[in-house]
């Protein structure tokens, strides 16, 4: 990927603006990371609590650059057959069956077994050639002509073995297939790895990546995000709801609400034609923000105080 092909990524400011036009409001740090990843051709390891827009980041870049997004969702037991490539065994077997009759023609005139085998050798490894190769996401990303965004999602869910598999791809952008040889990327893809920190990623992998940690956004940033994602919510309600979510994040919860939940909540409030927050409204829509029964219970007892605080704050300002 070169700068002349993608003027959208020429500077940090341009990236910020480009993202904004696609409704992704980001901090300067995120834009810097994207800029560096593009300039230095390095993968980015994105970490942060769930729901802060890690996956969304990769999707937005694909939109911005108008190149395909290839996504590999990691899970326990993911192996190279599902991530890199696989031979089309069924096709291979079918072809051997169909071509069985042809064998006679081919071996015509051959004297003895040795000569027949020698004749067969002339055909080489047709059954292990590109036609019989089933590309999986990683190989597919290497084959894209115009380059691609490769998103390796939740890499912490995969096994350690899989991480080692990634090392060659991430540092040299190539894949070794024993039967064929080394396949180099046609155009270097931009790689994003996301992690929720359920386990430590190995140092070898971290070393090859730029490390981007996305925390929960500040009140101002989150308000901007809501404005861009749910533009119909009026300003007063937007301010209230963002403040309320921020105060929820201060509580000791099993799963704190993330940006995606704030957006969902803003949408539901809009549907309910709410003009401002009140206790009853919050109570009935709390299940949009909180995903555990015990969280909802523990918050309900403090709800009155939380909502009142928001209203008092607003009147004071």
């Amino acid at each position: 990927m070169h700068t002349q092909d993608f003027p959208q990524l020429a500077s940090v400011e341009q990236i910020e603006q480009g993202f904004e036009s696609y409704g992704y409001i980001c901090s300067r740090k995120i834009a810097t990371a994207v800029f560096l990843a593009f300039q230095l051709r390095k993968p980015v390891l994105v970490e942060g609590p769930p729901g802060v827009g890690k996956t969304e980041l990769a999707k937005t870049i694909a939109l911005l650059l108008d190149i395909p997004l290839i996504r590999l969702q990691c899970y326990e037991g993911l192996d190279e057959a599902k991530a890199l490539y696989e031979w089309k065994y069924g096709k291979q077997l079918l072809y051997t069956q169909v071509l069985k009759e042809k064998l006679g023609d081919l071996l015509q005139g051959a004297q003895g077994l040795a000569e027949s085998v020698a004749k067969l050798h002339e055909f080489g490894d047709i059954f292990y050639s590109e036609e019989f190769l089933e590309p999986r996401p990683l190989l597919k990303a290497m084959q894209q002509e115009k380059g691609a965004i490769l998103l390796i999602d939740e890499v912490d869910k995969s096994d350690y073995e899989f991480e080692s598999l990634l090392l060659e791809i991430l540092s040299d952008y190539q894949i070794s297939i024993p039967e064929i040889g080394t396949v180099k990327a046609r155009t270097t893809p931009m790689v994003f790895l996301t992690s929720n920190n359920t386990r430590d990623i190995s140092d070898a992998l971290k070393r090859r990546c730029l490390h981007l940690y996305i925390p929960f956004p500040t009140v101002e940033l989150e308000e901007r995000i809501i404005r861009s994602r749910v533009p119909d919510v009026d300003e007063q309600l937007r301010h209230q709801l963002v403040e309320f979510v921020h105060s929820l994040r201060q509580l000791d919860l099993k799963k704190v609400p993330a940006i995606s939940e704030t957006i969902d909540w803003a949408r539901s409030l809009l549907l309910l034609h709410a003009q401002q927050l009140d206790e009853e409204l919050v109570r009935s829509t709390l299940n949009v923000l909180l995903k555990y029964e015990e969280d909802i219970e523990s918050t309900e007892s403090e709800l009155r105080a939380l909502v009142r605080d928001r209203l008092v704050n607003r009147q004071a300002t």
Partner: protein, 473 residues
């Protein structure tokens, strides 16, 4: 600028941020791409290559601020004695600035007046150092301190006791001596300008002291900690003072984590592997050679198991605390560890380790199983509890001094364990020379162990356990 980037990375390393040479190269690339003009942009960019966890990022930000902050405090205006304001009866805020200027000018005039009769002071006032001080040219003064610090090798500072020494050396390198001489000569002449000059001297000293302090925090804080860790991990465990216990706990935890991340991989019994061609062909025979189904090679992985037995009797009490701590951490990080403790009788303690925090668990174990040692009956208990579980995948680790109070060692039990298990390992805190002396049964037990070693400090423990985990793969 590149060299200062490298020394910044040096600083990060002393603060326990691990940075490889390759990452250093990345950082140089980042700096070249982003340029040095936008400070916060550069900071964020460098953080992405150098800090790999949120914790490291905090350390990074901290160090970045300290390393690239080189301003000295403004010392001209703040130094006016409060009394002089009251004397003039002025309201402080309104006239403070003008007053400060007046005050400084008056002082400088006093100095020049005194200089007319004093050649030493005359020479001093001509010197660049004094001119910078009097003129309050902070940037140049900072630069001078920086250069002096480089000349005396301040970056080598390691211990806080060296702070005074380095302050002195920097002052000497900057030519503070001339001020000192002038002060002495003014003192002898009982000149009124003495107080003024003394004040300038103190300002300079204070600035240098602050500077050294800051650099010490930057360079030596990490070094001191590394030094401590190093010493602690080489000290015999029963000699470590009580006050360092919590530090050791931390070390052990770090060590166990390191070992675990190196060795704890999830193992799966079955995994779809490569195509099993032979089987696929064979199974195709009933269908006239048409291969309807594909068959896959299955990979079978062994599940290793570790049984750890720890002596907690009085004779090894100080030692046992650490071993239990280690067992605790190990059980935390490895999936299949069963822990046992004994002195006169033996019991399984895995449940304590699972259910309670470390201090509480160790206390409970000591309280329940502490006492006089009886290896014979403990081995019998162990056989009863765990013998059925011991198979060719089991590693048995015994931690103890093998001092049996002249009781029956029941060697035959250990021998039968030896025959069943994949590995029996005995770690003894006593030095090899003491094995077999007095009531020690070590030499006899040793005959029924695959491996026995002396182990009385953390370094040895780590090395042995590392080997052990490698072989249990």
């Amino acid at each position: 600028m590149q060299s200062s980037l490298v020394s910044f990375i040096q600083v990060l390393r002393t603060h326990d941020v691990r940075i490889s040479p390759a990452e250093t190269l990345d950082a140089v690339d980042v700096a070249a791409t982003l340029g040095y003009s936008d400070r916060s942009l550069l900071r964020d960019g460098l953080a992405m290559t150098l800090a790999k966890t949120p914790e490291e990022e905090v350390i990074f930000m901290h160090c970045f601020e300290r390393f690239f902050q080189q301003d000295l405090a403004n010392f001209s205006a703040s130094e006016i004695p409060a009394t002089s304001m009251e004397e003039q009866g002025l309201s402080p805020p309104a006239n403070a600035e003008r007053l400060a200027a007046d005050y400084t000018a008056a002082q400088i005039a006093a100095l020049h007046l005194a200089a007319e009769t004093n050649p030493t002071l005359q020479a001093l006032l001509q010197s660049t150092l004094m001119q910078r001080l009097v003129g309050n040219v902070r940037t140049e003064l900072t630069l001078a301190i920086n250069q002096a610090a480089e000349r005396v090798g301040l970056q080598q500072i390691q211990l806080f006791t060296q702070k005074g020494q380095f302050t002195r050396r920097i002052l000497d390198a900057m030519g503070e001596e001339t001020i000192r001489n002038a002060v002495i000569s003014l003192e002898q002449a009982e000149s009124p300008a003495l107080a003024v000059l003394q004040r300038y001297r103190d300002i300079l000293r204070e600035q240098v002291r602050d500077y050294v302090e800051r650099e010490y925090l930057l360079y030596a804080e990490g070094k001191t900690r590394q030094f401590m860790d190093d010493i602690l991990s080489k000290t015999r465990l029963n000699n470590i003072e009580h006050i360092y216990l919590h530090k050791v706990q931390e070390l052990i935890r770090k060590m166990a984590k390191k070992l675990a991340s190196r060795h704890s991989r999830k193992r799966k019994l079955l995994k779809r592997g490569r195509l099993d061609m032979a089987k696929t062909l064979r199974k195709g025979i009933p269908n006239d050679g048409v291969m309807f189904n594909t068959y896959w090679r299955q990979v079978r992985k062994e599940k290793p198991q570790i049984l750890a037995v720890c002596d907690v009797s009085g004779s090894v009490a100080a030692y046992a605390k650490f071993l239990l701590l280690f067992l605790y951490s190990l059980q935390d990080v490895l999936p299949k560890v069963r822990s046992f403790a004994f002195s006169s009788h033996l019991g399984e303690v895995s449940a304590y380790f699972d259910d309670y925090p470390v201090e509480k668990a160790i206390e409970l174990v000591n309280w329940k199983y502490g006492g006089a040692t009886d290896y014979g009956s403990s081995l019998m208990d162990f056989a009863k509890l765990a013998m059925d579980d011991i198979n060719s995948n089991t590693t048995v680790i015994i931690l103890g001094d093998a001092r049996n109070n002249n009781g029956d060692p029941k060697l035959e039990i250990l021998q039968s364990i030896y025959q069943r298990a994949r590995q029996v390992i005995w770690l003894n805190p006593e030095s090899r020379r003491a094995w077999g002396s007095g009531d020690s049964e070590m030499l006899r037990y040793q005959s029924a162990c695959h491996f026995s070693a002396e182990c009385n400090n953390l370094k040895q423990l780590e090395r042995i356990v590392d080997q052990l985990l490698k072989s249990t793969r």
